[in-house]
């Protein structure tokens, strides 16, 4: 299957006064149409910046310092702002974490939808409105005609996220990047959104990059999983494989610390230490300070190697250690 988007050795760095922050450092992966890639990591691991890099919204002092992002034969990292803009919101769309903040509070829903249609399609306003209404209906918003004239604050959080999804899907994008879109939502609402998104991805053949810190959500949703740690993908492979037989000690620890994986009332398995500061990363494997298997070998940066059906960045994979 041809990949919709293929990221190769992407490096996005932030050149701050305090030093260079390598938010994304040598990241490679690809997603195909209809597939869901779960990009998992804790805060500061670079998963959101990866998303922004693909859609071309990395703001100064950050910029893409290396690597390429291939979409339909062109390298997105090399496109002009104008060319990128014609793809953004059109072929590649993105939705954000906080549904309360993604919609402009002082503009009506129809304004915010119609402008999106008109930005990429030469159609009349009536046609744009019709498409907007259809999109709202598609994501399960009742009486869309009426709701079009409302303001964002008249919607609940879940509804707003649906509107954001509707906006993202207006042009049937090839790739949808979802940055923790359900984290701020309640469980029952999250389930609704997940159900909608899953349906849409399948029906439209859209490639989906689902950025999250919640392994449980990903487990039910993703075809593939990429686990990020300190700006790098440490393990990337088929969802079932990675979750059932994690090879990287970090992935292993992460899965182990989920409460339901532990016996009730007993101490959880935990990863010691803290997530590192990207400004002062130690040389070599970024995880070695927290890793039980670390030794001198880890002081050199481990390369990405295929192993057991996945891409792994580790000197001491769990199967070996065990």
């Amino acid at each position: 299957m041809n990949a919709t988007v293929e990221v190769r050795n992407l490096r996005t760095h932030f050149f701050t006064r305090a030093g260079v922050v390598k938010a994304v450092d040598d990241v490679s992966f690809s997603v195909s149409g209809g597939q869901v890639l779960g990009l998992v990591g804790e805060s500061g691991s670079g998963k959101t910046v990866t998303g922004f890099s693909i859609i071309g919204l990395v703001d100064p002092p950050g910029r893409i310092a290396g690597g390429s992002i291939w979409y339909q034969g062109q390298d997105l990292a090399k496109l002009s702002e104008r060319e990128m803009r014609s793809l953004r919101g059109n072929r590649i769309a993105m939705i954000f974490q906080d549904p309360m903040m993604t919609l402009n509070p002082v503009l009506r829903i129809d304004t915010q939808m119609i402008e999106t249609v008109l930005a990429h399609a030469r159609v009349s306003r009536e046609e744009a409105r019709r498409r907007s209404r259809d999109a709202l209906g598609m994501v399960g918003i009742p009486s869309p005609d009426e709701r079009l004239r409302a303001y964002p604050h008249q919607f609940s959080g879940g509804m707003r996220q649906r509107v954001a999804i509707a906006i993202a899907l207006l042009h049937n994008p090839d790739l949808l990047i979802a940055d923790e879109p359900t984290t701020a939502l309640d469980v029952t609402i999250q389930a609704q959104i997940l159900a909608e998104v899953q349906k849409l991805a399948v029906e439209h053949g859209t490639a989906l990059i689902w950025i999250t810190h919640d392994l449980s959500v990903i487990a039910g949703l993703a075809d593939q999983i990429a686990v990020m740690y300190a700006g790098r993908i440490v393990e990337f492979g088929d969802a079932t494989t990675v979750l059932d037989r994690p090879l990287h000690p970090y992935t292993h620890g992460l899965i182990g610390s989920v409460p339901s994986r532990n016996k009730r009332g007993e101490r959880l398995r935990q990863i010691p230490g803290m997530t590192p500061n990207l400004l002062s990363l130690p040389a070599g494997c970024a995880f070695r300070m927290r890793c039980a298997h670390a030794d001198v070998a880890c002081e050199a940066e481990p390369p990405v190697e295929p192993r057991d059906g996945r891409d792994l960045r580790c000197c001491h994979p769990m199967d070996q250690a065990a």
């Binding site: 859609i55 919204l57 803009r85 014609s86 793809l87 953004r88 919101g89 059109n90 769309a93 993105m94 939705i95 954000f96 974490q97 906080d98 903040m101 993604t102 919609l103 402009n104 509070p105 002082v106 503009l107 009506r108 304004t111 915010q112 402008e115 999106t116 930005a119 990429h120 303001y151 604050h153 008249q154 954001a164 906006i167």
Partner: protein, 327 residues
């Protein structure tokens, strides 16, 4: 909304009441208007006649009582100096001040917002920094000094604009306005700029701060992620959000400009602009109490009215407030 208005109104009544008491006592403490107005050659009988004529022979509380009684019957008294109803005097001067203040605020809006927008978008550029530095000048320069400099340069040296005064007026709704004639506009230009200087700086800074706060917001990023042009993102998504504080502040500034902030008095004095600021200063100088009281009452009401307008504007601009209030 209605509750708010009632509250405002009741509050305004208290303010007016407190204010009138303060003015009565204050004027009494400062001095006796008769001392200032009367001819020093007048004899005792003449003096006594005038004092009793103006009602100043009564104890202060009784004077206040009479005032309250008359005020409730719509009579705010006559100016000691002009022998005209105080309200009429104020009404005569109001258009001049009103149009000057409005022009100044318009200047502030149409210069301040674009400059602030630019400075906010390019905070580190040379021009952006220059605009900010310039805005500090607007805060710092004493306005009487700037006023005279304007006159020196544009009237005396270059001869482009008339130096002082109000110029030709045209009557609209029975009120003379100078913005309706070319000559009037020419007269208005310098005082309006002088008056606007502070407000331009203020609006500019507000706008810049607003832009800088709004730009990193998610909805701006989302708008960009939709593939909108930068122009649309800035002029629709960003600008509409920051207009809320800007309009609020502009409205309040309009109020205090009309209501005679420092600059209005000075500007009116330097440019011989026949507005309310000069009237009130002159009235304080001669302790023309009816005018002072009436003026302040007007100001309080004006503030209430402007607050109301600002609130309505606020509602128009911010749907969150609008819908909350409506329901």
């Amino acid at each position: 909304m209605i509750a708010w208005s009632i509250r405002r109104l009741v509050q305004a009544c208290f303010v007016v009441l407190a204010m009138t008491v303060i003015v009565f006592v204050g004027v009494h403490v400062i001095g006796n208007p008769v001392d200032i107005l009367i001819s020093p050659e007048a004899d005792q009988a003449e003096r006594a006649r005038i004092i009793s004529n103006l009602g100043l022979d009564q104890p202060l509380w009784r004077q206040y009582g009479y005032f309250l009684y008359d005020a409730l019957h719509g009579d705010l008294g006559r100016s000691f100096v002009f022998n005209e109803p105080a309200l009429k005097l104020i009404a005569q001067r109001m258009p001049a001040t009103l149009e000057l203040a409005v022009t100044a605020v318009l200047f502030a809006m149409f210069l301040g917002v674009p400059l602030g927008l630019y400075a906010g978008l390019k905070p580190d550029g040379f021009l952006g920094r220059a605009i900010m530095a310039g805005s500090i000048l607007g805060f710092s320069l004493p306005s009487f000094w700037v006023g005279l400099m304007l006159i020196m340069v544009f009237a005396v040296q270059l001869g482009w604009l008339p130096s002082t005064g109000r110029g030709q007026t045209e009557t609209l709704f029975g009120v003379p306005w100078s913005f309706l004639t070319v000559d009037g506009l020419r007269h208005m230009l310098m005082p309006a700029v002088n008056l606007a200087l502070f407000n331009i700086s203020l609006v500019l800074r507000l706008t810049r701060a607003g832009v800088r706060e709004t730009l990193p917001m998610d909805f701006v990023k989302f708008a960009r992620a939709k593939g909108l042009s930068p122009a649309r993102v800035i002029f629709v998504h960003v600008l509409k959000n920051i207009m809320i504080p800007v309009v609020t502040v502009l409205g309040l500034e309009l109020g205090s400009t009309i209501a005679f902030i420092a600059f209005a008095v000075v500007t009116e004095s330097v440019f011989a602009w026949p507005g309310m600021g000069k009237l009130i200063i002159d009235s304080i100088n001669v302790l023309d109490r009816p005018v002072i009281v009436a003026y302040l009452m007007m100001i309080v009401l004006l503030f209430v009215a402007i607050n109301l307008v600002v609130d309505i504007l606020y509602m128009l601009l911010d749907p969150r407030v609008r819908l909350e209030r409506k329901s």
